[in-house]
């Protein structure tokens, strides 16, 4: 027997909608196998991963966990929304992690260098600087791509390490808190430089989550209803047809990188001005990379990305609770996320192809050799 992929004449609307769920299901199965091999009860492990963090929905004493979910989901959604514009326009920005850090650094400039500047304007300035920092950092691979035809996957990825090490040097060096007992990190921000919490009574979720929702809706509208969105999609799918339409591919490269850089930068500054309250060497737990999974799990649709961001945030929280409850290594989270991306990309094949099982193995051996004339 042989399995064939047969191209569909039209893409399947059914599988466009279904493929993320199939991927989630397959990830759960593969995850269960992984936990069994690790010697844990798979049902228990999956409970801690995907159900335990959600108990806050019906149990008020666990409501803080929902806030933690929003805190983790906010940067994932913000970054992934920007990445969806990049990926739809065929710009493979892998460096959102670096743009996140760049935004955090530039946005922290005011509270670190002028800690005595107390005004309502500090926070808006920080957010704007954060966006500008992320956008400027993303402009580097965009410029190289447009000017020298450099592969943006490599340049954007390598700039992540530059940003990480530069941040490390800053918080251990010139920006280190002199009263920080030699721990790396800047001084704690003044209260004027801290993002307010949405419902301080029940938990510490901050306005970053609102930014994420607003960004998702705005970018969704841009992509699906405006000429700019059309331009992004045409150039991504069919560059030659895009040029025939009169769109400039160079401009769209910059547009996509600057937009996704700005959103990643906003995520970065929201993180340090939100839950962390100062800049340190480990401000990101890989949000910029996990957001790639979020973008694809959300089918590059900003509204889908909101749901996907919450699911991936769940794996972070679930990883922590599983580690505490049953002693699964926190590295299992990464394995989980990796499997999810793998299955999402694999299931996307079903949108354009259908699977056919073919019998008669004898015939196939022959025709396998043919066709190389």
């Amino acid at each position: 027997m042989r399995i064939e992929l047969v191209r569909r004449p039209q893409h399947s609307a059914l599988f466009s909608a279904l493929s993320p769920f199939i991927a989630l299901g397959l990830t759960l199965v593969a995850g269960a196998i992984m936990f069994s091999v690790l010697g844990k009860n798979p049902v228990e492990a999956l409970y801690y991963y995907f159900i335990d963090p959600l108990t806050g929905i019906w149990d008020p004493s666990n409501r803080w966990q929902l806030h933690e979910l929003a805190i983790k989901a906010a940067p994932l959604i913000l970054i992934a929304v920007g990445l969806s514009v990049c990926y739809l326009s065929n710009n493979w920005n892998i460096g959102a992690e670096g743009q996140f850090i760049a935004g955090a650094i530039v946005g922290s400039f005011i509270p670190v260098v002028f800690p005595g500047f107390h005004s309502w304007i500090v926070l808006p300035l920080m957010l704007i600087l954060g966006m500008a920092g992320g956008a400027a950092y993303a402009a580097i691979p965009a410029f190289f791509k447009v000017r020298f035809n450099t592969n943006e996957i490599l340049t954007s990825l390598m700039l992540v390490y530059v940003a990480q090490l530069f941040n490390d040097w800053l918080v251990r060096g010139i920006w280190r808190n002199p009263e920080g007992m030699s721990f790396p990190g800047t001084i704690r921000f003044s209260e004027w430089a801290i993002l307010p919490q949405i419902w301080p009574d029940s938990g510490r979720a901050h306005w970053g989550f609102v930014f994420a929702l607003v960004a998702a809706v705005v970018v969704w509208f841009m992509l699906s209803k405006t000429l700019k969105g059309f331009e992004v999609k045409v150039l991504g799918q069919s560059p030659r047809a895009g040029r025939f339409a009169g769109f400039s591919s160079g401009k769209v490269v910059f547009f996509a990188f600057l937009l996704s850089g700005a959103l990643a930068g906003l995520a970065g500054i929201s993180e340090v001005a939100g839950p962390i309250e100062h800049l340190n060497e480990k401000i990101s737990i890989g949000y910029g990379f996990t957001a790639i999974i979020v973008a694809f799990l959300g089918r590059l649709n900003p509204l889908g990305i909101v749901a996907a961001g919450i699911i991936l945030a769940l794996t972070y929280l679930g990883g922590e609770s599983a580690q505490i409850a049953i002693g699964v290594s926190d590295k299992a989270v990464r394995a989980f996320q990796g499997m999810l991306l793998f299955f999402v990309l694999a299931c996307d094949t079903l949108i354009h192809y259908r699977i056919r099982f073919v019998g008669a193995p004898a015939m196939k051996a022959e025709s396998g050799k043919a066709g190389t004339a």
Binding site: T226, S238, R240, A241, F244, A245, S367, A370, A373
Partner: protein, 521 residues
């Protein structure tokens, strides 16, 4: 089956059927090829010719039916098996490596370990004996399309086949090159070899072929002797209804009409190592006329189209003028806003985005010119207006499709082309530039497209048609220029242009000297 018929018939096909999903690409096809005959296989695009031939050559597996070779039932599992039986094939699209020599390309297709020098000697001997001179050590990249086809034919002949399948062999040749090919085919026939000749050019089928099988919608609709038929009767069999001849009303006073598209001394350096430089091209297209540009593929037509459309801009603003205004430094959008419309050769991926809906593909080329109708404040797309325009074009051009607004890739080539042409005609452009308007389009649709281009011109627009189909250019053009090696000849008025003159220019006779000494050549 008696021994008698087996001795005469080389190949007999009975009830051959191939099903793709719900489509019967070949439906109980019968075909008989006698020894020593040139047998034409006629049919429009999508009639099932290629599917049938692929089953004969072993690249597709029949669903049911029987193939008899010399009276014996055979199963042709793959192209190697076909070659072993004695079936050779020359494909329409060549499979040659440009960086290798002719002999090396031939060696690649042979299984045995014959040294290159032996192959070269054999190929050369064979090529001269069939009147297809070929230098086996020349690089394929340096050869013309006609010469490349020779390599394919020699490669096929080296395996001494009894049946040679030729798929649209003359579609890439100049008339003179085609004549040479016909001589070769006649020699092969005299040696007792059989040829299955796939074509939609009825004149050459009438001229050369001993028998014809006509297919339509996957079925054989007629077996006939093409010499007893007229081109019109053959066309009727292929299409299934009368094909309306294209009507071209004469134009008067064209000399004084305003030039709507002017190209002045256009030169262009090659953009890639494989593209053709353009040399000093000048051309006027006036209101009311259709100018045709003939030429063998790859002589700079694509580069010229890009330059005129503005996908590649010029350094001097005056190099291209549209409606009397300098357009050389304008982008394609700027040129469209001056009233020009463009239809490129490639439908999928250039003229249309394959995975986008028809309505989106309408928007693709018209968002700027129809911004009032299609765009609201803030660049918001008015989907209902675009949808209405899409359905209007579909109606007007009779585009057949499976859904209300399908993806472009889901349409057949001909229907997509009708839509793309209709998309531009719907704007009533003042200047229309079309590259290969009816390539791969069935006869009925082609006639409709050609007629609409003539009507657009007669309503006062300037129409420039680039095509490799000479019949088409003779049908619709008021004057024909020839592009060869990146240069454009002076346009010949339709009354002076003969197939022979144009053919010589396509083969590289010097541009500008068409008037002298033609008769002596």
């Amino acid at each position: 089956m008696s021994a008698d018929t087996a001795a005469v018939n080389l190949l007999e096909v009975r009830g051959l059927t191939k099903i793709f999903g719900s489509l019967k690409a070949c439906d109980a096809v019968d075909l008989t090829i006698r020894k020593g005959e040139i047998h034409a296989l006629l049919g429009e695009n999508g009639a099932g010719k290629s599917t049938l031939v692929k089953m004969l050559f072993g690249s597709l597996e029949p669903y049911s039916g029987e193939i008899r070779w010399n009276g014996q039932p055979v199963k042709i599992a793959n192209p190697n098996a076909a070659r072993k039986l004695g079936i050779g094939m020359v494909f329409q699209h060549f499979s040659l490596f440009e960086a290798l020599s002719a002999a090396e390309n031939i060696a690649l297709s042979l299984d045995d370990q014959t040294p290159i020098s032996t192959i070269a000697a054999k190929a050369q001997a064979l090529s001269y004996s069939y009147g297809l001179p070929l230098d086996p050590y020349s690089l394929v990249g340096d050869l013309s399309v006609g010469e490349r086809q020779r390599i394919e034919i020699i490669r096929c002949l080296l395996q001494t086949p009894d049946l040679i399948i030729l798929d649209e062999p003359t579609s890439v040749l100049t008339p003179q090159e085609a004549d040479k090919l016909f001589e070769t085919l006649e020699r092969l026939r005299a040696e007792g070899k059989s040829i299955l000749y796939i074509s939609h050019r009825l004149e050459e089928v009438k001229r050369m072929c001993d028998a014809a099988t006509v297919m339509r919608h996957g079925k054989v609709v007629a077996h006939c002797d093409p010499r007893q038929e007229t081109a019109a009767s053959l066309a009727r069999m292929m299409v299934g209804s009368e094909v309306h001849a294209v009507v071209r009303a004469p134009i008067e006073g064209i000399e004084t009409a305003e030039a709507l598209l002017e190209v002045r001394n256009l030169s262009r350096k090659p953009a890639t190592p494989f593209s053709m430089p353009l040399k000093n091209i000048s051309l006027n297209v006036r209101a009311g006329e259709v100018i045709g540009i003939a030429g063998v593929a790859g002589n700079g037509q694509g580069e010229f189209f890009e330059a005129v459309s503005g996908e590649a801009m010029q350094l001097e603003a005056g190099t291209v003028r549209i409606r009397g205004q300098d357009a050389g430094k304008l982008s394609i959008t700027g040129r469209r806003l001056l009233g020009a419309a463009f239809v490129p050769e490639e439908r999928l991926g250039h003229g249309a985005a394959p995975r986008m809906k028809l309505s989106e593909n309408l928007f693709l080329s018209r968002y700027a010119t129809d911004s009032k109708a299609f765009l609201g404040p803030g660049g918001v797309v008015k989907e209902s207006a675009i949808d209405a325009a899409t359905q209007r074009i579909v109606q007007e051009m009779d585009v057949r499709k499976s859904a209300r607004d399908p993806e472009a890739a889901a349409l057949s080539g001909g229907n997509l082309q009708k839509f793309i042409i209709g998309r531009e005609l719907d704007r009533r452009p003042t200047v229309m530039v079309v590259n290969q308007p009816t390539w791969g389009v069935d006869a009925g649709a082609a006639a409709k497209i050609r007629q609409s281009l003539i009507e657009l011109a007669r309503s006062g627009s300037a129409v420039l048609v680039i095509s490799q189909d000479l019949d088409e250019l003779f049908e619709i053009s008021d004057a024909i220029s020839v592009m060869h090696n990146g240069e454009l000849s002076r346009p010949l008025p339709r009354a002076e242009a003969t197939l022979e003159k144009i053919g010589l220019l396509m083969g590289g006779a010097e541009p500008g000297h068409v008037d002298h000494g033609l008769e002596s050549v």
